[in-house]
């Protein structure tokens, strides 16, 4: 039976107080602010305070628990900001004059960057990143490979991307998700095949993260300026 080293015990109090104070600052900022977009961004700060409080425990378990917390924050930001955009667009749809108000627009402005390097280098860099990501496997690998796809997608500046491609990327993501879940279930149901399950999970995770990061990239490239 191991016990927690003295270093973590003495660090716990400063760490958790830092978390509580960061959380206090963030929540008070939300309570004072009026703009919805600011509140949405400030909620990320609340998530940061959560990471403080969880990681203060300082065991391997705490390190593992940070990941779900982070992912939940990220996922909710994604969905809720999309709902915010939908709401604003529905408002404009119902009352076109609402768009003429002077208040700041929620949508990014169309802007084209004309740079030589944006057309030649990305292919190569994206390929290297995706290759390296596959070599790494697992979560990091997925993030690296996804970064490559984002770079590729962002640098190509054609607009009005066919929905088919988006559906395809989303489909790969869904299949990878299933692969991953099957890997986990194998862990529980048949522990003796843990090596197979480990590889299923690692490769599924690679595909999942990569395709999702790539999907964000594809969505980001689409300007949503519906002036």
């Amino acid at each position: 039976m191991m016990y927690v080293p003295q270093a973590f015990i003495s660090m716990y109090l400063p760490a958790i107080y830092a978390g509580l104070i960061v959380g206090f600052i963030a929540t008070m900022a939300i309570a004072i602010k009026r703009e919805e977009l600011h509140i949405l961004i400030l909620t990320d700060l609340v998530g940061l305070a959560m990471i403080f409080v969880v990681s203060a425990v300082g065991t391997d378990l705490a390190e593992a628990l940070i990941l779900p917390g982070l992912v939940v924050e990220l996922a909710e930001t994604l969905a809720i900001s999309e709902i915010l955009i939908t709401r604003e667009m529905r408002k404009i749809e119902q009352d076109p004059r609402a768009n003429l108000k002077t208040s700041s627009s929620m949508f990014p402005q169309a802007f084209s960057l004309d740079m030589e390097i944006m057309t030649t280098a990305p292919n190569f860099i994206a390929l290297v990143l995706i290759g390296y990501g596959i070599f790494l496997t697992g979560f990091t690998g997925g993030a690296v490979a996804g970064g490559g796809i984002v770079l590729y997608a962002l640098s190509k500046k054609a607009r009005g991307l066919p929905v088919l491609i988006l559906d395809g990327v989303a489909g790969v993501s869904g299949i990878a998700w299933c692969l991953w879940i099957i890997g986990f279930l194998l862990f529980f149901v048949t522990p003796q095949y843990w090596l197979l399950a480990l590889f299923l999970a690692a490769c599924g995770l690679l595909l999942k993260v990569a395709s999702k990061v790539g999907l964000i990239g594809l969505l980001m490239r689409e300007d949503i300026d519906k002036e």
């Binding site: 425990v57 378990l61 999309e82 004309d114 480990l198």
Partner: protein, 197 residues
């Protein structure tokens, strides 16, 4: 203030998050008054910071012992009886990972980069159900966000005119920026010329 007025204010969805944030903030400050200390009797204990680095272990700070496919590493979970091959994943390294760890003392900081390793052991094996939920949350918000964007916010099938207009606007904008850059360039050059003379 009458209580009815207060309830009416609460009925506006816009005020609710701010009220929630306020009460949460007050509670967090009250937390500073509560006696807080870490219980030294924890599960999944890790060695002190820098201890493994000072020992010169290649897998530091994630070395928990064990030999790939032969010997299990040391892991201290809640219910050891529910995990038959406990510690095997911590000990496992793919051949590539083994090779890299033999030539580099910094492999530990990228140990997630191969299937296996400590975090995989906890995330996949002993607490795998958490990870299923976590990935389901991610999947569901992707479904929500991508459904909305494909079917509504990004759906531009019906407004080709707008696409053309936006295109024109983008081209105009970029030429404008380019012109400005050119003008600034010329100005700077003439300044430099004057200074040189």
């Amino acid at each position: 203030m009458r209580i009815g007025v207060l309830w009416n204010k609460l009925a506006d969805p816009k005020n609710v998050p701010r009220l929630f944030a306020f009460s949460l903030g007050v509670l967090l400050i009250i937390g500073l008054l509560v006696p807080i200390a870490l219980n030294p009797d924890q599960i999944y204990v890790r060695p002190a910071p820098q201890e493994q680095v000072d020992e010169g272990l290649a897998l530091a700070p994630y070395d928990r012992g064990g030999e790939p496919l032969k010997e299990a590493g040391v892991i201290d979970p809640q219910y050891p009886e529910n995990a038959a091959s406990l510690g095997m994943i911590t000990g496992y390294m793919s051949p590539i990972a083994q090779w890299i760890s033999s030539i580099s003392p910094y492999f530990g900081t990228s140990i997630y980069s191969s299937p296996g390793g400590l975090i995989d052991e906890i995330l996949y094996y002993t607490r795998g159900f958490d990870t299923i939920l976590e990935s389901s949350i991610l999947m569901m918000s992707f479904i929500i966000a991508s459904w909305l964007s494909i079917n509504y916010t990004m759906n531009r099938k019906n407004d080709e005119k707008e696409i053309k207009k936006d295109f024109k606007k983008a081209i105009n904008d970029s030429t404008q920026v380019a012109n400005e850059v050119k003008a600034n360039d010329a100005k700077a050059r003439s300044k430099q010329l004057r200074r040189d003379n």
